[in-house]
Symmetry: C2
Amino acid sequence: MKKLSRRSFLGNTTLLSFTGLLGLMPSLYRGRQEQKKVFIHHVYFWLKNPDAAADKEKLVEGLNTLKTIDVIRTAHIGVPASTNRDVIEKGYNISWMLLFDNLEEEEMYQKHPVHLKFVDNYSHLWSKVVVYDSVDI
Amino acid sequence: MKKLSRRSFLGNTTLLSFTGLLGLMPSLYRGRQEQKKVFIHHVYFWLKNPDAAADKEKLVEGLNTLKTIDVIRTAHIGVPASTNRDVIEKGYNISWMLLFDNLEEEEMYQKHPVHLKFVDNYSHLWSKVVVYDSVDI
């Protein structure tokens, strides 16, 4: 499958480049074809001061710096939805979902200087982080 | 933004339609433009019998039935990656990530007869389910 572009971002800005989202656009014009594999890295942050809007903004600022890391295929910054059932975890403050092409690229992201700098500069903001990494079955 | 197609699935089959993934393809040809909002519904299942391959297959079979629900924009069935750090939750057995256009469509999915039938037919397989619903910040 032809790869049209490296990165696309969903998130908290209004003007974004979505070229190459999941690298799947060619299927638009060719109909059904083999899917592209994906590595989903979904991180949930609990802030130390969840009621401090400035802290939340600061963390979002930090996450936005990560979007420059070129191995990221897609990024999304989120907050808990208004849904409310027993099984729903609503205690976190920020959701950070990344799609990578594969494990190797996720590992490159983890070791990337911009990511290490993010941890240095922003980890004081959160009290807890939970990560779910999942791959195609 | 023009919406090209309703549904796209990432997951455990090899031939899939990706037309309209996140409804963002037009940006390929027009450059940067306003993003489409998204509702991320990410479900993690813990199986009662995590070592029973048949149970895992059965749950995947059930999740695949859900893909017929027309409000789903994108679906992905996953399993834990091989990554291993303290912050990574690896205890779950199946990841089920859905993208919807908005809260209302996620609620339609929850109440859809196919979803209710899925819960009836497959909920005996899991011991725990954790849901993270997130929306654009």
